[in-house]
């Protein structure tokens, strides 16, 4: 997707920064922002279960390239450092990270970005997989965001036996509290979440008259936008990125 003129100057800076989580912890985050003058919206990226990996750093730079101040906190920072997949395996072995901690880290990342110059005080949230679930959860838990993008969030609808101390609430049960425009992207071949759960998710949003748009792609499964994985689907992914930037431009600019 080419949205720039070849005549334009383009520059961005991308680096690791230290942010303060809402709970006071110091956490690493990857920040990418345009170098040109302007007032840019913020996008907070919530990485997926495989961790704070290269793909998410690429995604962060992609948002900056499209004129956003993008920041992605390392949600697994507290568990140690190493190769992202090894850290993620350790986090998984410990039963994941708590929803509360993730929300605190996202709020901290958002606050860090709001304190940077050149931002327009509008903040969107983007997450895939477990991050998609967290994106929806934070949209139902906070009034500090202006747009939520949930990509194939698994376990948005949780049965009683899946409730844990770290994930004490089924996000779907909070649907009534959503107060932010929501974009949902799903693959119809996905089994987590399966289409039936996406139906239930959508029915709740309809029931409470929420502002949302769902796009559900045929021929695509879980993680269809992950270009570093075998289940990448080029056509659906390109379309999904276009929908993401259209949605963010509508809700975060002007």
């Amino acid at each position: 997707m080419n949205t720039y003129n070849t005549h334009d100057y383009e520059g961005l800076i991308a680096e690791t920064v230290k942010i303060k989580s809402n709970n006071g912890d110091e956490v690493n985050a990857y920040l990418a922002k345009p170098l040109i003058e302007g007032n840019f919206p913020i996008v907070v990226l919530i990485h997926h279960l495989p961790g704070w990996d290269e793909l998410y750093k690429e995604f962060t730079r992609k948002f900056a390239h499209h004129g956003f101040i993008a920041i992605c906190p390392d949600l697994y920072h507290r568990e140690g450092n190493g190769s992202p997949d090894d850290v993620a395996a350790q986090v998984r072995s410990m039963g994941g990270v708590s929803d509360k901690q993730v929300i605190d880290d996202i709020l901290g990342a958002s606050e860090y970005a709001r304190n940077l110059s050149n931002n327009n005080d509008k903040v969107g949230v983007f997450g895939t997989c477990s991050g998609g679930r967290h994106a929806f959860l934070i949209g139902c838990s906070s009034n500090k965001f202006d747009a939520i993008i949930e990509c194939w969030g698994g376990n948005v609808i949780m049965s009683e036996e899946n409730i844990t101390d770290k994930q004490p609430v089924s996000p779907a049960s909070l649907s009534q509290n959503l107060n932010t425009p929501l974009l949902g992207l799903f693959g119809n071949d996905d089994v987590s979440p399966p289409p039936k759960e996406v139906d239930e998710h959508e029915n709740l949003l309809k029931k409470y008259n929420k502002e949302y748009t769902f796009h559900r792609y045929d021929g695509a499964g879980h993680g269809f936008m992950y270009h570093d994985r075998p289940y990448y689907r080029q056509e659906q992914s390109v379309d999904a990125w276009e929908k993401i930037f259209t949605f963010l431009d509508k809700n975060l600019r002007g």
């Binding site: 279960l49 568990e79 190493g82 090894d86 350790q90 072995s93 477990s130 194939w152």
Partner: protein, 89 residues
């Protein structure tokens, strides 16, 4: 990535990584979307030494069919091995 199906067991053994052997005392078994192997869901085995779980990790991801084949072969090998050792003892 999103099933969170995870089983863990303590084990006694050793594993080879970076051309050296290390003691291994933990194994996690996952059923989820793989990082690398070309299938929708895989069985992932993550072996480590709990004293340094991140840096000692030795990992494997295999198709569910492969996992079943390995389980069958392990059971066969165990049965044959136990027969041999029982005869000796």
């Amino acid at each position: 990535m999103c099933t969170m199906i995870s089983e863990k067991t303590n084990i006694t053994g050793s594993g080879k990584s970076d051309n050296r052997w290390i003691p291994i005392n933990s194994c996690d078994v996952y059923f989820d979307h793989p990082d690398h192997v070309d299938c929708e869901h895989a069985i992932m085995l993550s072996f480590c030494n709990q004293n340094d779980p991140i840096n000692s990790r030795i990992s494997l991801e295999i198709t569910p069919e492969s996992a079943k084949a390995i389980i069958e072969k392990i059971n066969l090998a165990l049965a044959k091995g136990e027969k041999v050792t029982d005869n000796i003892l």
